[in-house]
């Protein structure tokens, strides 16, 4: 437990950071003590990631002071921060996907023998480091061959392995499943016991209350305050974060059991028959009916993303057929899928979703424009209308359509990606981890949106690591294991998260985790 008596390891005072047109941080303080897990809380765009980047030398501060162990410091690069014992997992997975897993963990501090990198030793130690987070993968494969979740775990393993004094985790759990999160928490507790100071950012309030000791809350780049986690009830925390009360959140309570009636005689929007891809997903059958929300549940790497990609033509299926509205259709390319009214938001928004250099407006109208072809431009007026509407609807901040998307906070980027597909008014919306990195308020908004869209007749294929969320929204849940759909569960009375977990786990839970 943190003792206020001892002096803080890190003390940031009056930090200011301005980007052209945005005051990202305005007089923010942060104190970190040895042996504590400290939550950094705030809505999307509140300034959490910026504060972390300022601390670790990615950005230079415009004002304020940073002390490490009592000494004033000003890191000019993450390298210096690392050398001073501050290791960080930044929000987006920032690893080199062209390198092997082992290298990603050890690059910059590779074990050497007689001056030369000792690859064997490096792989061995990489396996050890991954063991700590309970990940068993081939460390000599390039990182790009693993899913975003695995990449996230690798990033964590690297930071944990480096950490000496301070460990900073910026939304490390956004794409992890329950098991993975628990494993991470085990490691964090252990490090805490070893005397490390840990900063933890997450939009999952349960996780915050489970693991953190104290918290600092930011709003709009300003400090709201600092509290002991145990002394600030969840409801109060949320209202401190969003600055208003919880009406939006509560509106969703009760929306739990959802069944669609009269599906028997309807034609599925999309029907996959024996669709599969060698080495990727075993052939599966899957039907989505108009207005139906289908959830995909499974462990990390169980193949949910692969199913989604096949349904969108992002990967080409090598077996099976698709029926769209009952008619046989080839879905060989995303282009073919979009012209059938199918939309897809990738879980990997940075590399597969957004075009960072383009503006918010351009990113939002991209898919709609692509569908119309370049010869039929959407008039600027119409663009502005559409974009304004969705910036408001999804509360994208800053509400500046001409801002470059790469300068948006992570959560707001996710909203932009969602907006891109919503304005195409698709028949089927495939959402892979759409609530990744989205704050409580926005998450509730998005969930509500999914519900209302499905009520309007849009079908949704919904993937989330959060089973509660899957259960809350879906009419039926497809359960995956080892890249196979093993069960289809109707979300009727009596269906619970536990039951899904049991199905995923099959006979013995241990077997799956191994």
């Amino acid at each position: 437990m943190a003792s206020a008596a001892s002096s803080p390891v890190v003390q940031m005072t009056g930090i200011r950071k301005e980007f052209p047109g945005v005051k990202a941080l305005d007089g923010v303080d942060l104190r970190l003590f040895a042996g504590e897990v400290h939550a950094l809380m705030g809505e999307n765009g509140a300034g959490k990631s910026t504060l972390i980047k300022v601390l670790t030398g990615v950005y230079t501060i415009d004002g304020g002071e940073i002390r490490l162990g009592g000494e004033p410091v000003l890191f000019s690069s993450p390298l210096q921060a690392q050398q001073a014992g501050v290791s960080t997992v930044y929000q987006e997975v920032n690893l080199c996907t062209n390198l092997s897993v082992a290298e990603n963990i050890f690059i910059g501090r590779e074990p050497r023998r007689m001056g030369a990198i000792n690859w064997r030793e490096m792989r061995r130690r990489a396996r050890e480091a991954l063991e700590r987070v309970d990940l068993h993968i081939d460390v000599s494969q390039p990182l790009s061959s693993y899913s975003i979740a695995i990449q996230q775990m690798v990033a964590i393993a690297r930071a944990v392995d480096i950490s000496a004094q301070v460990l900073i985790l910026d939304e490390p759990t956004s794409s992890l499943d329950q098991g993975e999160v628990q494993q991470l928490f085990r490691v964090m507790r252990q490090l805490k016991a070893e005397g490390l100071a840990i900063v933890f950012v997450s939009h999952f309030l349960e996780q915050i209350y489970e693991i953190t000791d104290r918290m600092t809350v930011l709003r709009n780049g300003q400090l709201v305050g600092e509290w002991m986690t145990s002394e600030l009830p969840q409801v109060e925390l949320v209202s401190k974060m969003i600055g208003r009360d919880l009406a939006t959140l509560e509106a969703l309570e009760g929306e739990n059991k959802r069944t669609l009636t009269a599906l028997e005689n309807a034609t599925p929007v999309i029907q996959a028959k024996g669709v599969g891809r060698k080495g990727s997903v075993e052939p599966f059958d899957l039907s989505v009916y108009p207005g139906e929300v289908v959830g995909l549940a499974g462990l990390l790497g169980s193949g949910r993303t692969e199913v989604a990609r096949l349904m969108f033509g992002a990967d080409r299926a090598d077996s099976g057929d698709f029926l769209v509205d009952g008619k046989p259709t080839h879905l060989r390319t995303p282009r073919a899928a979009t012209s059938q009214g199918i939309a897809f938001t990738s879980e990997n928004r940075r590399t597969e979703g957004l075009v960072g250099e383009l503006t918010v407006r351009e990113n939002i109208i991209l898919a709609l424009q692509a569908a119309r072809g370049w010869t039929r431009p959407i008039s600027r007026k119409r663009q502005d209308e559409l974009v304004d509407e969705y910036i408001k609807a999804l509360d994208i901040r800053p509400a500046n359509p001409e801002q470059q998307v790469r300068n948006l906070s992570g959560g707001n980027q996710q909203k932009v990606l969602l907006a891109r597909w919503l304005i195409t008014r698709p028949k089927l919306l495939i959402l892979d981890e759409p609530t990744r990195g989205i704050d409580v308020g926005a998450k509730a908004q998005i969930q509500k949106l999914v519900v209302s869209l499905s009520e309007e007749g849009m079908s949704v294929l919904f993937i989330s690591a959060e089973l509660e969320e899957v259960l809350r929204l879906s009419h039926k849940v497809e359960v995956l294991r080892d890249r196979r759909i093993i069960a289809e569960l109707a979300n009727d009375e009596g269906m619970t998260v536990e039951k899904i977990v049991e199905t995923i786990a099959g006979d013995s839970r241990e077997e799956v985790r191994a």
Partner: protein, 350 residues
């Protein structure tokens, strides 16, 4: 303050400085006079000689925006001039408008095909652009030499001469062509969604694919347009001297064109492109060449001078450089020490 923020502020200033510096060596540098019914002067020379470069650079801008590069423009220019003059030289009446138009049509048509070839290698076969276009860069000049039989073909055709060396409304016709290409490119890409889609493909190819963009067609289009531009520029250069020199036309033009694009602020990795920037870049390069000639720099030192100017240009354009120079001056003003109100902000509950 806000005008200095503009992307083109520093390149523009540099261009002006280059132009003005000429006056110290040639006081009459900005003078224009009428000569045989057309305007005559250094500025006119700069614009006319810079026109082909600008046109090639406009085509190159699109290719670079898609994340590619086109090394073959120089060779395509040579081929274009060779095809046109070869046809004209065979005419009984070299000045016949129809004959010249056919020649121009043949040349440009052929260059479109060459652009298509590049585009197919890049977008369909999937060869890295630099190598894909290198093939035509090497082979193309051979083709041009083959057409001209290695000799310089000279034609005597005022109609053909118009394209690169003639005048309309007292101004070089080349200027109108260059403006037409620039305006066409700007309008077609910015009034339609072409520009944005190209920038999207160049900015993030995979994300664009998943957004349903047909990137293959766009990339093809960019290379075809670049081929067309190179062809037109080749015609201008060949027409300017009423002859086709397969060996030398467009030699090292690809470097100048790329340089013009890059000076204009378009990044070589693709994404956002700036046509007006390319215009400034092309004019700057031509002004630099003309400056070297008019102020009489020793030919042996020409390259050193060029190196110096390009270097200064990079530095002045670099925000990082300006920030470093600027910050040094500003630093004393903003004390790095913490504000006095330190304790007030820290609220330690319990």
């Amino acid at each position: 303050m806000s005008i200095t923020r503009h992307r083109l502020f520093y390149p523009g200033v540099l261009l002006l400085v280059l132009l003005v510096s000429n006056v110290f060596f040639t006081p009459t540098f900005f003078n224009l006079r009428m000569q045989d019914g057309h305007l005559y002067g250094s500025l006119i020379d700069i614009v006319r000689n810079g026109a082909p470069l600008l046109i090639v650079a406009v085509g190159m801008t699109f290719v670079i925006a898609t994340g590619g590069i086109d090394l073959s423009v120089g060779a395509v220019m040579a081929i274009s001039g060779a095809v046109a003059t070869h046809h004209i030289a065979g005419l009984s009446n070299q000045d016949s408008t129809a004959g010249v138009l056919t020649a121009v049509g043949m040349a440009l048509g052929f260059c479109l095909l060459l652009g298509l070839w590049n585009g197919i290698l890049v977008a369909v076969v999937g060869i890295q652009p630099i190598i894909a276009t290198l093939i035509l860069m090497v082979a193309g000049r051979g083709v041009a030499q083959w057409i001209t039989d290695g000799q310089i073909i000279t034609v005597n055709s005022p109609a053909y001469k118009l394209i690169g060396g003639g005048y309309k409304l007292a101004l070089p016709f080349a200027i109108f062509l260059a403006i037409a290409v620039l305006v066409f490119a700007a309008v077609i890409s910015r009034r339609s969604a072409l520009g944005m889609l190209i920038e999207s493909v160049g900015g993030n190819a995979e994300a664009s694919r998943l957004a349903g963009i047909r990137s293959r067609g766009l990339i093809l289009l960019a290379y075809v347009f670049s081929g067309f531009c190179a062809g037109l520029a080749g015609l201008m250069i060949s027409s300017n001297v009423s002859s086709a020199d397969a060996n030398n036309t467009g030699l090292f033009y690809e470097l100048d064109a790329i340089l013009a694009v890059v000076i204009g602020g378009t990044a070589l990795i693709g994404g956002r492109y700036f046509l007006v920037g390319t215009l400034v870049g092309a004019l700057t390069i031509q002004t630099l060449t003309t400056t070297i000639l008019t102020i009489g720099i020793n030919p042996n030192a020409t390259l050193l001078f060029k190196a110096f100017v390009v270097f200064v240009m990079c530095l002045i354009q670099s925000p990082a450089f300006r920030a470093k120079v600027f910050r040094r001056r500003q630093r004393p003003a903003s004390p790095p020490a913490a504000p006095a109100s330190k304790e007030q902000h820290v609220r330690v509950p319990a």
